[in-house]
Amino acid sequence: MRSPSSQSRDTVGTTLINHWQRGVPVSHERVFTPTLIFFAVLAIIGLTLSFIRFVSPLGPFSGMNDAYAWGIWKTFNVMTLTALGSGPLALGIAAWVFNRQKLHVVMRAALVSGFLFYSTGLIALGFDVGRPWNFYSAIMPWRWNYESAMLEISICMPLYCALFLSFEILPLILERFYYTGNDRTKAMLVRVSPYLRRMYPFMIIGAYVIPLMHQSSLGGLLLLAGTKINPLWQSPCMPLLYLLAAGLCGIGFVTFLLLITCLRYSRALDVGVLIELSNLLSCACLLFLAVRFVDLAWRHQLQTAFSFNKMSFLFFLETSLIAIPAIVLRFKSARETPRTLLKMATLACLGGTLYRFIPTTIAFDPARKASYFPSLPEVLISLGYISLGIVGFGLAVKFFAVLPGDNHDWNHVFRPIGHIALPLKWLRRPSRTSVKEIPAKSKGETPSLVSR
């Protein structure tokens, strides 16, 4: 019944069991699992190297050169991975603008993952630019070059992450303080809450308009590269296609993330929400493909696509990765099978990220003979930022009510923040935190703190 691959259909009636009703923290798992420690080590290596990079020139550190001036920190961590972090944009628009109310329950997972993708991307950007100390110009509008896509990105991305995304994840942080805090905290939060609710609809307008701008500007960046980019990708439609790719990657990644985390933490799945997500995913893929092919036909590049060289192979790889989920998820049986949905969401994410990555590096042919391959520190730093995001998500699901679950699974007791220091427990006397604080609500599950 609780296994994620088991059927979630109501055995009596025809209605689906609605398992995802609210955010519920993962309280029956250890905080520091070997996997999390592995990623934490990767993140520490990456961050250490980043700080070495800060005092060292870019040249010896990375594989970048004057012909390939942008390495994977920009092209992969920022231009590609923020597409996966566009879940709050795509699902937020679906939920709040198009009133798909089922999606409200997965917004928290989308928001936290999106915030982590954006913030790690921005850290990557901060270490990638050569003269970051001049970035204070960002708060001086008279220095702005309003027609530069780069300006749009360098201002809107930090603004979106620091203001709008942070505001959107504020409720889930305050919720924890409300339930764990003393009476004064509670009273204060009760007083603040109506103001937050009043601001909320206005803030989410910004939270949707601003990423629409910068996600399309990421494609707009490449317009200036002109003929350096293969004609299969270089197109005036690139801003729109980058935006649509962000949409499909965002939906695909949230689906993927929910499926694997629910599998990992033994949460029941909610077929109703998953059907909604897969329907959206398939529509986003179809829309992307339609625009892609109309654009190719409009620019008379369809024969280039069928010329069967390296670039046409890449085009087919990317297109089929998006086309397969688009078609398969049209079938009801596929939408209702979590295993198929997981595969299709993975394919869609791969296809969308490939579309975003290829024109920046693989299909980028500079004026002179040169090559680029990321150096080892470059790769380690890039992996370090991704690992930092994974660690962040791993901690967030355990300390905050991020993952969707049943209402009755949770009695609003949060894991004490002191659990973050648990790896050190063999170094000190037994923790004073009461075991009873985390009761075993779910059937058959032993609270891990008791077992240790």
């Binding site: 009703q21 609210r22 955010g23 060292s56 020139p57 870019l58 040249g59 050169n65 004057d66 001036a69 942008w70 628009i93 709040w96 603008v97 198009f98 009133n99 928290r108 630019v129 050569g130 003269r131 001049n134 970035f135 110009s137 220095r143 702005w144 070059n145 309003y146 027609e147 530069s148 896509a149 780069m150 300006l151 409720p171 889930l172 919720e175 009043r198 909320y200 609809p201 206005f202 307008i205 949707y208 308009v209 601003i210 629409l212 500007s217 707009g220 960046l221 317009l223 200036l224 590269a225 002109g226 003929t227 350096k228 005036p236 801003p239 500079p366 004026a367 002179r368 209402n407 609003h412």
Partner: protein
């Protein structure tokens, strides 16, 4: 109270959209900021390089280094003399040679910034570190540059170079000796020192006429009977005459449309007075307000049914 506030703000939003739309429609008739084929202003300066005159003496290279305070790039020569392999962070100007395989003869080419009429690097530079100055010289201001290297991605001529080996990296490119010589009433170091007149300095219109005159006087001498830079990437302020194909001497084949026009023709309309974003915010705001109010109205019921406070 809150609904009234929302409505007033919404109305203000719509008024903003209307104003912006009106502004766009009135300014549409005004001159385009990035025309597809920009016209050089009358005071635009230029360089004309004629590779049938260049003897490859490379006198312009040390002159350039001296005027710009650049070190000698002596990596290839084992630390003996300036011997750059291409434009790089120590070289703003270079003479390169092209040799025809299996045939006698060779051709020289002088490479430096082309000072486009509508430069892609200037249009992409986020904080105007690169800008088009008086007479059309494209210069770089270090205090504004964040080192994003978008100029390197954008430049179709592969000109801006980044100091990869420096902790405080500069973007190095020919600036037409703007601060060093032009503002003092002198011509650029390279044209001043050229002993044969292979590269000459003057007003762009004059030099273009001169170049066309040279073609007319010696039909068949020059490749394709045309001046490179007249139309390339919307036109450049460095003009080339060559007796071999321009592509062979490393000048890329480019369309006559300015890259800045291509990159901004859609976004400049969408972002004019922030019309697109404001319009989008208006539409979203309308739907969000509707859905939000319903969500809030249903909240007490929902909370009563589940017994838990609503989560955002």
């Amino acid at each position: 109270m809150s609904v009234a506030l929302n409505r007033r703000q919404l109305l203000r939003g719509f008024a903003g959209v209307g104003g912006a739309l009106a502004a766009v429609s009135t300014s549409a008739a005004a001159s385009e900021e990035h025309p597809a084929h920009p016209v050089a202003p009358a005071d635009a300066i230029a360089m004309l390089f004629d590779n049938t005159i260049c003897t490859g003496c490379r006198a312009c290279m040390p002159a350039c280094n001296e005027a710009n305070g650049l070190p000698a790039d002596s990596l290839m020569s084992g630390g003996i003399w300036d011997m750059p392999s291409d434009l790089n962070s120590k070289t703003k100007n270079i003479i390169k040679v092209y040799e025809e395989p299996n045939e006698p003869g060779y051709a020289f080419v002088k490479r430096q910034c082309m000072h486009c009429l509508d430069p892609a690097c200037v249009s992409g530079c986020p904080f105007d570190a690169l800008k088009k100055n008086e007479w059309g010289a494209v210069t770089w201001t270090g205090s504004l540059c964040i080192g994003c290297r978008y100029c390197e991605v954008a430049c179709p001529f592969d000109v801006p170079k980044f100091e990869w080996d420096h902790w405080n990296p500069k973007v190095v490119k020919c600036e037409f000796c703007f601060d060093q010589r032009l503002t003092k009433g002198q011509e650029p170091a390279c044209t001043a020192v050229c002993p044969t007149g292979a590269v000459i300095f003057g007003k762009r219109n004059d030099l273009l006429a001169k170049a066309k005159n040279r073609i007319d006087e010696a039909p068949g001498k020059y490749f394709e009977q045309r001046v490179y830079g007249e139309h390339e990437a919307g036109g450049t302020q460095v003009l080339y005459l060559s007796n071999v194909s321009f592509e062979k001497i490393g000048l890329p084949k480019l369309a006559s449309t300015s890259l800045a026009h291509y990159a901004t023709k859609v976004t400049s309309v969408m972002y004019k007075w922030l019309t697109g974003p404001i319009l989008m915010a208006g539409v979203f705001g309308f739907a969000i307000r509707h859905n939000w109010n319903r969500h809030e109205a249903e909240r007490p019921d929902r909370e009563k049914k589940t017994g838990f406070p609503d989560q955002l």
